[in-house]
Symmetry: C2
Subunit: 408 residues, 2 copies
């Protein structure tokens, strides 16, 4: 497996574009807010959606389309600036967005995936989409992935794209992806909008399996603020243009595919964490010595989501008691008396707790370690061999600022 | 039932005191950090504790004592400045604190309740307690409740005390209480330190029942930051000095007692919410039209705990979509399509959502309403008659500031 340039158009046969349409009134002309992604040939598609009971209309329509098309898709239309959620006419509008895009592309509307992100509960006008659809279609290109990424960003401050290549049966396959999201992010969902494309030939069943296994240890291990959005989605589209032998079983090619998918999704997860709203530091919590993965995931996610710990990381305060406290209110079962906790960054590593009890440590060294922008908290349960990591960020003044005045 | 002055010493036969002992090095001389509460006669006692799996040593010792004494107690010794949690010698120290106090008071150490609050994982020195215990004992008075309250405060900025009187079988009974806590506060526990005293004569079984029923709709409906502390406790001590006929069944006297207990605990809960770390606004979420209380509680607590909503309230932004979003990721089952949402303050009331869909509203009016310091969010599920409220506050720059540098 090797890193390669690009994102959602890195794999063979995927074109994309992004444009300013003016979904949100008075949004700056340079802000792209509608994106289009299309594959030269039909794609086996797997999707996971938010577990929020209040679901955005685009989620409902995408589900419906994938059911109707038997899990096949050709294109994606997305907008930022309005989530099209809690609107009386939301489904009609989401359906219409698909029809507009499908007509321009000359495909069936049921082959379209649709996603929206932005404020909840304001009627969306799709006149802007109608206005720009032809230009958007003309702009579609194999280098357009980055413009698509720009179109899905809201409070994001960085573009999140990643791609890798790997070999399957002597053929080079590519997986690329893009993600958006920096607030309203919490466990147990497909964290905001994530689009992954690949030219790998793979069956629906194997693709679905690979996505669900990978989401669990990547996107679902991301916590920014504990708020699970209504519009989260991760879609993987595979058009098979790499020409590899179809992956239909859990063979070596499947393992290569899954490893590559995990790498792309893990990298995107870290990019999302790093760009959490108001974040100044990436916080990674690694739990090892666990009896099973689920225990490790539950503890890692609970710790990385603790508001108190996130504030301490912001303030470079080695307040490890908050780590133990968060572990204790997680749903996982563990013995507090065998827990070790280290804080780590590129400035070094320091042990703060052994067997559930504080040890003497140099405050000066701890502050030095915590002053870095990428902090790891290593927790050992000393009760097994399973491990997992969760990704988040510090809680800062700017998070409050951004979210105290998001709509305007 | 009537409001009466005072707190933990409002009921007959309870004396208290607070003092500066210097539990935390360099703490200012004016900060009380050790408190003592004692009843003239033995008290039937009910206690609920944190559900955090990492429990403070004082919690373990208090549990043990109440087991040994058959649910009877005489006194409480508390300290702030150190939680005595995750310390190798924590239990010995907690036990010793009880022995020191019991010796001074001439009672059995098993009749002592002990509680500590402050930083986790730093060894506690109880030399300061030894040093002050005699002075503390001499200072015990029927007016000392407020000094006891001062001794348990940490980042609290206000003293939380409340008391009521009620009639039971022709006798006037009193219930008074004090609470502390403004951070590390989350559902499903006996939110930080809460001490309630009463001169009511009541059986252990009835007291336990009243406490558990009342905690569920008061302290457990309080959410500041979603962090469940290791040291939370609510203790109710009843010495029977009011001379009422012993309450042994769910009779009218029991109902009076429970109503009075609920009133004191609800008032203290609201005081806790209002003094949430960094809070500028009290946020109350009222859910009605619910099929049952559990559904109403779950929704109210999830909404009041949403970081995004808390930021919106801070910024006076009527972003009601975040209310629906939080409802959706709660564990409760409900139909989003029948939900109504109003925002309310003493400036008026405004409907933002009817049947799960946004309605047109005046932004100006909404901002005026949200600019107040006490905000109510009224949610109607339109699916039953049960209701519940949850209490919290806004999320502000100061929360981050306080918690970025708590230990020093």
């Amino acid at each position: 497996m090797k890193y390669t340039k690009g994102g959602v158009t890195a794999a063979k046969g995927f074109k994309a574009a992004g444009i300013h349409a003016g979904i949100k009134e008075n949004s700056p002309i340079e802000k792209f807010d509608v994106g289009l992604l299309v594959s030269d040939s039909p794609c086996v598609t797997a999707c996971v959606y938010t577990q929020n009971k209040v679901k955005g209309a685009p989620i409902e329509i995408t589900k419906l389309h994938l059911e109707k098309s038997g899990g096949m898709s050709r294109g994606v239309i997305v907008n930022s600036g309005n989530a099209n959620t809690c609107n009386a006419d939301g489904k009609e509008k989401a359906e219409e967005m698909c029809s507009i895009a499908a007509a321009a592309l000359g495909i069936n509307p049921d082959e379209m995936i649709v996603a929206s992100t932005g404020v909840i509960g304001q009627k969306i006008s799709i006149e802007p989409v109608k206005r720009v659809i032809n230009t958007l279609k003309e702009n579609l290109s194999f280098e357009g992935g980055n413009n698509f990424t720009k179109a899905i960003m809201t409070t994001d401050t960085t573009e999140k794209e990643y791609a890798v290549t790997f070999e399957a049966g002597g053929k080079t396959c590519t997986i690329g992806g893009t993600s958006k999201g920096s607030g309203m992010i919490a466990p147990n969902m497909a964290t905001n909008l994530n689009f992954l494309t690949s030219d790998t030939a793979i069956s629906k069943e194997m693709l679905k399996k690979a996505l669900s296994e990978t989401v669990k240890i990547t996107y679902n291990c991301l916590v920014i603020d504990g708020d699970t959005s209504t519009n989260d989605m991760a879609a993987v589209m595979c058009n098979g243009l790499a020409g590899n032998t179809l992956i239909e079983t859990e063979n070596e090619d499947y393992n290569q595919f899954k490893e590559a998918l995990t790498e792309v999704m893990r990298r995107l997860t870290i990019m999302l964490a790093k760009d959490g709203e108001g974040a100044t530091k990436l916080l990674t919590v690694n739990v090892s010595g666990s009896p099973d993965i689920d225990t490790a995931v539950e503890i890692a996610k609970t710790v990385v989501g603790s508001s108190l710990l996130k504030c301490a990381v912001f303030g470079s305060d080695a307040n490890w008691g908050r780590v133990l406290c968060a572990m204790g209110y997680s749903k996982a079962e563990f013995d507090p008396n065998t827990v070790d906790v280290d804080f780590r960054s590129k400035k070094g590593i320091i042990t703060l707790c052994k067997n559930g009890t504080g040890v003497n440590f140099s405050e000066e060294k701890a502050t030095e370690i915590l002053s870095e922008t990428e902090i790891d908290i290593d927790i050992t349960l000393n009760n097994g061999n399973a491990k997992a990591s969760a990704y988040g960020c510090d809680l800062t003044y700017d998070y409050v600022k951004i979210n105290g005045d998001y709509r305007s």
